[in-house]
Subunit: 214 residues, 2 copies
């Protein structure tokens, strides 16, 4: 049984989504970012980088959403949600996963950091424009990689689509245009999956009950 | 037979290093970044993101250094350089790989981008200080993750050490202090591997012959 430490509208929904796709039961614990719970000693013992999500099992704690979803697919869903180990398609999966978190996501994360997540003295207002330009450049490359494929690795829906889909949703919620027809229809296709809806509804419900309790 | 498109003192050394560790033969092609060769149509057909390294084989082109080294270990070196698929240790490998490229490396990449890699109108001088602060924060987390382990996944040297080692070298060459004793000795241990030295010497030799030819 897994315990997922998360918070709604953050990267933790990637892990919740992956768990729902595979059909694994899990306990969800809200780490209240607004109250700074990610900075306390109990949470830091789980993740010294003080970031959610963290997935805990009998074996220990795993951090980094893109790593966790790959781990879950490898452990529980061989030949579903991830191309077979050692194939070229698996190489493409790794490529698209790394691209999603280093190129497509970083400009969005920069915008958040320089808006409110960094300590005030390190925020730079001008970074919003640079990040917008970087996102558009990454999106152009993403559109080329995607081409006319159904999912980033071809016809198989994988965990790389979970991460890419969440990044594109993040972009839309930051008022950034997805610009390319193939990217727009890909985002719709991926984000309309029932497992995604179940994941974010569950996160929101847990937040409500935490707030009522607190 | 693989062809590696790279340039010395960039992320391509990670792939060269991985190929040397596994003992795979490869052809090395210099993409002259100074001459803008990464922006031409031939190279863009290999990688629409216009970044090196790219690894080409009969099956196609793979991009993103962290993805390529994982692919190589999975395909050619099962049970060496990468923990077995589906294990918790493999989850830690994925975690440390993603952490290396999204947390530890990004501040260093920010410094390069805002120094010279971005178009002039998007560079922000103040980003150097913010990036230094972000690197120190990431390094602190890395030191916690590493703890007293020999390598990031424990006693097994993996491709996550290739990437982490190269990032730490990059930090040193950017005049950033590695600050923690466990990180300093880890960097020495990893970067003293013969395969690393062979990889960078080979890249430098190819650059020299390209420059003489051109």
């Amino acid at each position: 049984m897994y315990t997922l430490y998360g918070f709604p509208k953050t990267r933790s929904v990637r892990v919740a989504w992956a768990l729902e796709e595979i059909g694994l039961p899990y306990e969800y614990k809200v780490v209240n970012l607004k109250a700074g719970e990610h900075l306390n000693a109990v949470f830091q013992a789980l993740n010294p980088a003080t970031k959610i999500p963290v997935l805990v099992s009998d074996e220990g704690a795993l951090c980094e959403s893109a790593a966790i979803v790959t781990f879950l697919a490898e452990k529980h869903a061989m030949h579903e949600f991830i191309p077979a180990s050692g194939t070229f398609e698996r190489g493409l999966y790794e490529q698209m996963m790394i691209f999603a978190v280093t190129e497509l996501e970083q400009p969005l994360w920069s915008k958040v950091k320089h808006d409110f997540a960094l300590p005030k003295q390190h925020r730079i207002a001008q970074m919003q424009q640079t990040a917008d330009w970087e996102f558009e450049r990454a999106l152009t490359a993403f559109s080329h990689y995607l081409d006319d494929k159904e999912y980033v690795c071809g016809s198989l829906f994988t965990m790389a689509d979970v991460v890419s889909g969440q990044v594109l949703l993040w972009a839309k919620s930051s008022d950034l245009d997805l610009k390319f027809d193939n990217v727009k229809s890909y985002a719709e296709r991926v984000l309309s999956r029932p497992a995604y809806e179940k994941a974010w509804r569950n996160e929101m419900a847990h937040l409500s009950s935490t707030e009522q309790a607190g």
